[in-house]
């Protein structure tokens, strides 16, 4: 930030610029809706009026909670599998050279595009959606755990070895905590990706969920509901990200690594 920008920023209260940005976006939305005059773009006011109807509806709330449950479970499974794999890759060249090509091949594949195939195996229920969420959230967690484990200072590990610590407990008690700041950077991206794959999986296999409401409304040309659901999902993303940042600061406050910007193209 330049000195001039800092001075201009200091004159404002910290919460004000984001608020102004949101208001500006809403104003553009409102103006566009009136200019385009198409049913496909309801105005902002109408969309916000739709929100209480969705959030007050038992069935819709149940759908949203169902989505969140799947997402949380999928993300948890992804972390539980990816962190050990990434750490093992970081500490063993053999493991890294075995797994790296697989990661490179799967990296550009949109995970939600695998949904139709997975549905052939696992049906349209929870299992398929969970698997897609796990796949979607895993890569950044594996990658960052790998980088984190690779970057652990060799002398730190030597210091633990001199104390008589064995290989397995070094991985758990030295490599894992030392790589944790980097792992959490990957988790932050993983959370956003699991939200995205969660919604997309429900678009393809419609049964329940936030994505189900959204895409059903789209089919029925209920555009206020579509836009309101986009708002709900966006808000969920923000809440999850803020909550995660709080948790991260509490977990790795000892780290002096600079905060990474969490926004990633999906």
């Amino acid at each position: 930030m330049t000195a001039a920008a800092t001075r201009a920023g200091a004159a404002l209260r910290p919460g004000l610029p984001p608020l102004l940005a949101c208001l500006g976006l809403l104003a553009c939305w409102q103006a566009l809706a009136h200019l385009l005059t198409t049913g496909g773009m309801p105005d902002a006011v109408a969309t916000f009026r739709e929100l209480p109807a969705i959030l007050g509806d038992q069935e819709a709330l149940g759908d949203i909670l169902d989505s969140l449950r799947r997402m949380a479970l999928g993300f948890a499974i992804a972390v539980a599998l990816s962190v050990p794999l990434g750490l093992a890759m970081g500490r063993s060249r053999l493991v890294a050279s075995l797994v790296n090509p697989l990661l490179m091949v799967s990296y550009p594949v949109p995970k939600a595009a695998l949904m139709p195939i997975i549905m052939l195996w696992l049906g349209v229920g929870d299992a398929s959606k969970l698997l897609v969420i796990v796949l979607g959230a895993s890569l950044p967690v594996i990658y960052h755990a790998y980088q984190g484990a690779r970057a652990v200072e060799e002398k730190m590990i030597w210091s633990a070895r001199a104390m008589g610590m064995s290989g397995a407990s070094r991985l758990l008690r030295i490599v894992l905590p030392a790589a944790l700041p980097e792992i959490l950077v990957g988790c932050r991206t993983g959370i956003v990706l699991s939200l995205i794959t969660m919604v997309t999986s429900e678009m393809i296999a419609r049964q329940t969920g936030a994505g189900n409401i959204l895409f059903n409304a789209l089919d029925m040309a209920q555009y206020e509901t579509v836009y309101a659901m986009i708002l709900v999902i966006g808000a969920l993303g923000i809440v999850l990200d803020v909550a995660f940042e709080r948790a991260r600061a509490a977990l790795v406050g000892w780290s002096d690594e600079p905060d990474a910007i969490g926004v990633t193209a999906a």
Binding site: E153, W158, S159, A162, W254, S255
Partner: protein, 279 residues
């Protein structure tokens, strides 16, 4: 080569320490690295060195002479290509709590507080949390950091980090300290202060110390003997016993002609080009 008055090659330094048992024996140790471009690089020519129990020995030489590699081999962190190291009569096959390293990079555990770092070794050795912390507090008092036990490493200056690292190593009571340019990353003032503190600590415990450095004055101030190495390949050029009274005080030493003589002579030794340069 200018022959030094105090460096007398006709008196092998082993004689002065012969009555004491050898804590570390380095016998025919070499290290060869595979080069990326193919071929090999001989980093250490055969090294033979015996360090007596309770002796403070510095390994001094220009960068690239393999002095740190030699220390890592004694630590068991790096295997020798040929030859063997025995510590307390047992061959070294890997790291162990009988040899405590202190690194230039400090290598503290950043997720642990100062107290947690120092208590880590005793905990690893099976001490209860209370016992480990009591021990750690005692050592933090000795390095003058009692007020900082709840701090994290990132909140400390370089000098304080190295004090914590020394305390962390002393906490598991290794018989031998392996110090790898421990003060190399510190500013001149902090460096002098830590040298004084290390001497005070050492004069109390008289642990065996292998101390790698490239600073001549540091080596003369601290050591009983100085192993001067040269490079290409790394080998021992000369072993210089430092016959200065202890306890040593810097202000007295700086005025002492013998101290000055050691510094000058050893600097000359290092400046001399290796006899087999380019060979």
């Amino acid at each position: 080569m200018a022959q030094a008055a105090l460096i007398d090659p006709s008196h092998p330094p082993e004689q002065s320490t012969a009555p004491r048992p050898a804590a570390v024996e380095i016998a025919g140790v070499t290290k060869t690295f595979q080069r990326r471009t193919g071929g090999t690089h001989l980093a250490l020519a055969p090294i033979d060195l015996a360090v007596a129990d309770g002796e403070f020995v510095s390994i001094l030489g220009p960068s690239g002479c393999g002095k740190s590699t030699l220390l890592y081999i004694v630590g068991g962190f790096v295997p020798p290509s040929t030859g063997a190291v025995t510590v307390g009569g047992r061959p070294v096959t890997g790291p162990g709590p009988d040899r405590g390293p202190v690194f230039q990079e400090f290598a503290l555990f950043p997720w642990k507080t100062v107290l947690g770092n120092v208590a880590y070794g005793p905990r690893q050795a099976g001490a209860s949390k209370a016992d480990a912390e009591t021990k750690a507090r005692g050592l933090l008092a000795r390095v003058g950091l009692s007020a900082y036990e709840t701090f994290y490493p990132k909140e400390l200056s370089g000098g304080m980090k190295q004090r914590v690292a020394i305390a962390r190593t002393l906490a598991y009571d290794p018989a031998i300290l392996l110090m790898d340019e421990p003060f190399g990353a510190l500013d001149a003032h902090t460096r002098l202060k830590l040298q004084n503190d290390l001497l005070a600590l050492w004069e109390r415990d008289r642990k065996t110390v292998l101390f790698v450095t490239h600073a001549v004055d540091e080596a003369v101030y601290l050591s009983d003997r100085i192993v001067v190495m040269s490079r290409q390949p790394g080998r021992i050029k000369e072993i210089v016993p430092v016959d200065l009274p202890r306890p040593r005080h810097r202000d007295e030493l700086l005025l002492d002609a013998r101290y000055q003589r050691y510094v000058i002579d050893i600097e000359r030794l290092i400046e001399d080009p290796p006899e087999e340069a380019g060979a």
